[in-house]
């Protein structure tokens, strides 16, 4: 019999999960964060429902501090595939002037991302939200279910998760409760890159090395994406050859120096790299268990 490759099997599993949600849930939504994992997740959705368009909207929680290119890329993808895109911004946070520079990464992420996401889910009454998280990203995710139950308050209780057997998923929730669904749970970072290569999936050019204006803060290279990043006295942005391993709010996302301008070069760098993906995310660099705390509070 034709042997399916590991990518074939991962793809089939993800498609099965997405179809299950559409078959069983009332109002699903796909959280689209514009990064490479979201790009793969979107491709999987296009495949799962072809020739129909994915029968759910995409939701982007815009913290107002995303790289400009992310926003352009997002709108272009939505147009190209005729997708229903919902953009949600926490207007209360904007009114209070919350930002990563004035309030620090913890407050900013909580208000503009975690709270904003909950607002959006409540406002539209979504009962299932697809996310692109992978189990290999972080220790606390290794035990996460594919269908992750959330209380009406959006809380995740690591001690009280439903057992998940075979590919039979318990999608049932009471009113107000919801599911976070992770169709790419079993993918690794390398699988993602291999799949992007195999399927020729477009990703934002921020992943590719280019000369970009950066400043160095506490050893982290921050790109000066707009005039909101205050420069210290005498500090001047330098043009450096950099790329990003993950995309988020630009003041919170470290660049790495790299000459990798093609997909193959990126994959090569990924294979020989000696630091894990999350290292570039300023918000995770504190204590080991912090990700888990954020999750319990409703961070994706």
């Amino acid at each position: 019999m034709t042997q399916l490759t590991h990518l074939d099997r991962l793809e089939a599993e993800s498609i099965h999960i997405m179809r299950e949600v559409v078959a069983e849930c009332d109002k699903p939504v796909m959280l689209y964060s514009v990064g490479k994992d979201s790009s793969v997740m979107l491709r999987l959705a296009l495949k799962a429902f072809h020739p129909a368009r994915p029968p759910f909207p995409l939701l982007h929680v815009d913290t107002t501090w995303k790289f400009r290119e992310m926003i352009e890329f997002r709108d272009r993808m939505a147009g190209q595939y005729g997708l229903d895109l919902i953009v949600h911004i926490n207007e209360e946070g904007v009114a209070e002037g919350i930002g990563p520079i004035s309030h620090g990464s913890a407050v900013h992420t909580d208000v503009m991302k975690t709270q904003a996401l909950k607002q959006a889910l409540d406002r539209y009454g979504f009962d299932a939200a697809f996310g692109g998280a992978r189990r290999d990203e972080d220790k606390s995710r290794a035990k996460e279910r594919v269908f992750s139950f959330r209380s009406a308050q959006h809380r995740w209780d690591p001690k009280n998760q439903r057992p998940e057997l075979w590919s039979i998923y318990n999608t049932r929730v009471a009113r107000g409760e919801s599911m976070r669904v992770f169709p790419m749970s079993n993918w690794t970072e390398l699988d993602i890159w291999q799949y992007i290569h195999r399927e020729n999936i477009e990703i934002p050019s921020l992943y590719f090395a280019a000369r970009r204006p950066v400043v160095e803060r506490d050893g982290v290279l921050i790109m000066v994406d707009d005039e909101r990043l205050p420069l210290e006295k005498g500090e001047r942005p330098q043009e450096r050859m950099v790329r990003f391993r993950t995309l988020g709010c630009y003041p919170l996302t470290g660049a790495i120096e790299s000459e990798a301008t093609t997909l193959l070069e990126i994959i090569r760098e990924t294979l020989v790299t000696t630091s894990s993906e999350r290292q570039g995310r300023v918000i995770d660099s504190d204590v080991g268990a912090s990700m888990e705390q954020k999750k319990q509070e409703g961070y994706f």
Binding site: L4, K47, F49, A142, K143, R172, R268, T273, G288
Partner: protein, 459 residues
């Protein structure tokens, strides 16, 4: 990932093309507390170099605080998970780990060796192709080993490999290893494995984990990783086509596609199919995919089929090869694993969710419970958390199925509590307690007999 260092100069495109041909193996590791499971998994991850320096630095830091290895890095800490568990110093759930070699990608279901054991192990085993059972060479086959072997077999894992660990503590003695593997073979003889293999290892030092050990020259088999790279778990070539219909894709009036993951066999354009339970027949018109139509699709692929005729097919149905449809029934004998603190109540209505539908039903009669250590049958009125039993179940409508032994996807179900929505149990269908009266069957029986007569062979 052995080639990692050479990669800078290697032709990355060729390398990738090769990597994309890798297959996938899912396995579960089982052992009692302190048998060395975490150390073994940490070793596999570490030696396949999927540990990044920053993660290792964190482990080195943690080793000094919580490790059991003095100044040595405690690899077990690499695979410890949630904060709550770290405080207790034990793992409490099923965790999934990933690593890969140039031949295969591996997904490891890591289950802890204590209280919630049966539930967690059944969960991890449900998606595994292979089980790695750890035995401490000093202790040999224990009650737990019997339990692990039983659950492994119950969940339909066909290949089991016994890692006889801590060989360094028994002077790498062949006699001790032989004794344990004989004991295990005896045990495996009572269960339904296609293969049982024993490998002497020392997880702590890496002997026979990723590379053959020089300290046990008497052992001639593969290292554990070599075994895992080689073991053949490909689906049966000749099985009849089965595709549980998961969702019907109807974007407009012209298109009606039946979506599902192929559970057995293969399908090609023009194949005759029969939709069960209705028994309506048609042929496959197209196998639709995003990248263009396919000529053929195989077990494990998630596909969209269109049929030549407008027949009524919906979620819950199973498309089957035209001359060999699956059975259907509403009453079954089944093995059940209970997963909730509230015990099973025979007679109470639960939701039974199969691969592609949810049906109301109840357990009508609990035949017996199984003692997982002795495999003995015990009388019982109910199943408590972590109990396993054999019961009759009755569903509100017939479902299309195959015995779990023959097909995991078509023979499995979970049990959901109607009030709390929690998953309270999981089960495996053994056989139908009655054949649902059905015209399709007679027609088929006749068809089969005729064909056989034409070919001058017995049906």
């Amino acid at each position: 990932m052995a080639a990692r260092e050479d990669l800078a100069s290697a032709d990355i495109a060729t390398y990738l093309a090769e990597q994309e041909q890798k297959t996938l193996l899912r396995f579960i590791t089982c052992g009692s507390v302190d048998d060395g499971k975490s150390t073994l998994i940490g070793r596999l991850l570490f030696d396949s170099k999927l540990i990044y320096e920053d993660q290792l630095a964190a482990v080195e830091r943690d080793s000094k605080v919580a490790g059991t290895q003095g100044e040595k890095v405690d690899l077990a800490l690499l695979v410890d998970g949630l904060a709550a568990e770290r405080e207790q110093g034990i793992t409490i759930d099923v965790a999934y780990r990933f690593f890969s070699t140039d031949r295969r990608k591996f997904i490891v279901a890591d289950t802890p060796g204590h209280e919630q054991y049966t539930r967690n192990m059944a969960t991890g085993a449900s998606t595994a192709d292979v089980a790695v059972l750890l035995i401490d060479a000093r202790n040999g086959v224990q009650a737990q080993t019997r339990r692990h072997a039983y659950i492994t077999s119950l969940l339909g894992i066909r290949h089991v490999v016994v890692a006889v660990n801590k060989m360094d503590l028994v002077d790498f003695a062949q006699s001790r290893f032989d004794e344990i593997s004989r004991e295990f073979d005896e045990l495996a003889g009572h269960l339904e494995f296609a293969s049982a293999t024993s490998i002497p290892v020392s997880a702590l030092d890496g002997d026979n984990v990723t590379a053959r050990s020089t300290r046990m020259p008497w052992y001639e088999g593969p290292a554990l990783l070599g075994y895992l790279e080689e073991v053949d778990v490909s689906p049966q070539e000749l099985a009849a086509f089965r595709m549980p219909v998961q969702w019907v894709n109807r974007p407009n009036h012209e298109f009606r596609g039946f979506c599902g993951t192929i559970a057995a066999g293969t399908v090609a354009r023009g194949d005759a199919v029969i939709a069960m339970p209705s028994g309506r027949r048609s042929t496959v018109d197209r196998i639709v995919s995003f990248a263009g139509d396919l000529d053929r699709a195989v077990s494990g692929q998630a596909v969209t089929l269109t049929l030549a005729d407008e027949i009524d097919v919906s979620r819950g149905d199973v498309l089957c090869s035209g001359d060999d449809p699956a059975e259907q029934s509403d009453q079954f004998a089944a093995h059940i694993v209970w997963m909730h603190a509230k015990p099973l109540l025979p007679g109470r209505q639960y939701r039974f969710k199969t691969d592609n539908q949810t049906v109301l039903g109840s357990v009508t009669d609990l035949k017996y419970k199984v003692d997982v250590n002795s495999f003995a049958k015990q009388a019982g009125k109910t199943l408590e958390l972590n109990d396993i039993g054999v019961a009759n179940i009755a569903l509100a409508k017939p479902v299309v199925f195959a015995p779990y032994r023959d097909n995991r996807r078509l023979g499995s179900f979970i049990i959901i509590d109607r009030q709390s929505n929690e998953t309270v149990g999981a089960g495996m269908l053994d056989f139908s307690l009655r054949r649902a009266a059905n015209v399709v069957w007679q027609e088929l029986e006749i068809g089969k007999a005729q064909r056989a007569a034409q070919k001058h062979q017995r049906p």
